[in-house]
């Protein structure tokens, strides 16, 4: 996180000087007053005001603002944790009505994640694109486990019955999980066919 220390005749002046130096607006920073300064007597013995200006994490603030708005306007009982790791912002939605935000096969969660990512990275002064990962009650981890199990089960069946099997349509991320789950199986190959949103993975013998 970026921060600078500024001095000025008054707190206000110090803040303004800092904002001009950083080239950003007041709502993008947090201010910590280190010394309020004093006027002194007839300009003598006056003390300068000192402030610390901390640049807010704009992307994270944008994510919060957007999700808060969505949750409020849909009118559901959902809360979330927000965390930052490397260049990713991880959001975990929770609450009784979180299922509504997951949707069929995570369709709504994916859409919301995509929109959040666009909004959050829109006006990014630091110029670093951050990955936004939205999860809800660990839906993604659970789904991944289910898909890996499915991949292994179908691969076994393919070997036993000596025929190819095509799975139902999945999105890119889910197909990736299937491919990765079976990439080390020496007897099996996987490939995707068809057009989105009906693209399917086929599991067959090499």
């Amino acid at each position: 996180m970026r921060e600078i220390i500024k001095t000025g005749k008054t707190v206000e002046e110090a803040i303004n000087a800092g904002l001009i130096e950083l080239g950003i607006s007041r709502d993008m920073v947090d201010i910590e007053v280190i010394d309020e300064g004093s006027k002194g007597f007839l300009g003598l013995l006056g003390k300068q005001a000192i402030v610390k200006i901390i640049v807010k994490d704009v992307v994270k603030e944008n994510v919060k603002k957007f999700l808060d708005g969505i949750i409020k306007l849909i009118g559901i009982d959902v809360e979330y944790d927000i965390d930052e790791k490397d260049n990713s912002i991880l959001v975990n939605l929770k609450g009784n009505e979180v299922g509504l935000l997951i949707g069929y096969r995570g369709e709504t969660l994916d859409s919301l994640q995509y929109l959040t990512s666009l909004v959050a990275n829109k006006k990014n002064i630091e110029g670093i694109h951050k990955r936004i990962l939205l999860d809800a009650e660990n839906y993604r981890a659970k789904r991944e486990k289910i898909l890996i199990n499915l991949a292994n089960k179908i691969a076994k069946k393919v070997k036993q019955e000596n025929r190819s099997i095509t799975l139902e349509p999945m999105n890119a991320n889910e197909r990736r999980i299937i491919h990765l789950a079976l990439q080390d199986d020496p007897d099996i190959e996987t490939f995707s066919e068809g057009e989105e949103p009906n693209r399917r993975v086929t599991i067959s013998l090499k």
Partner: protein
Amino acid sequence: MGELVKFIAKSLVDNPDAVQINEIEGEQSIIIELKVAPEDMGKVIGKQGRIAKAIRTVVKAAATKEKKRVVVEII
């Protein structure tokens, strides 16, 4: 529901003041017409309509609470 579309659109575009919403409410469905500045059209449609699709999906989910069918039209 119109407010939700408006909020999402305003968050995406460069000219939020130009975002306009018109709600046409029927018995079983609501049509929400979304209008943005011409230069912002790409910001609410996206490549191959990907953004428009995401907006519709989120709005559709919100609409299940009201048990109404919602159609979002970008005009």
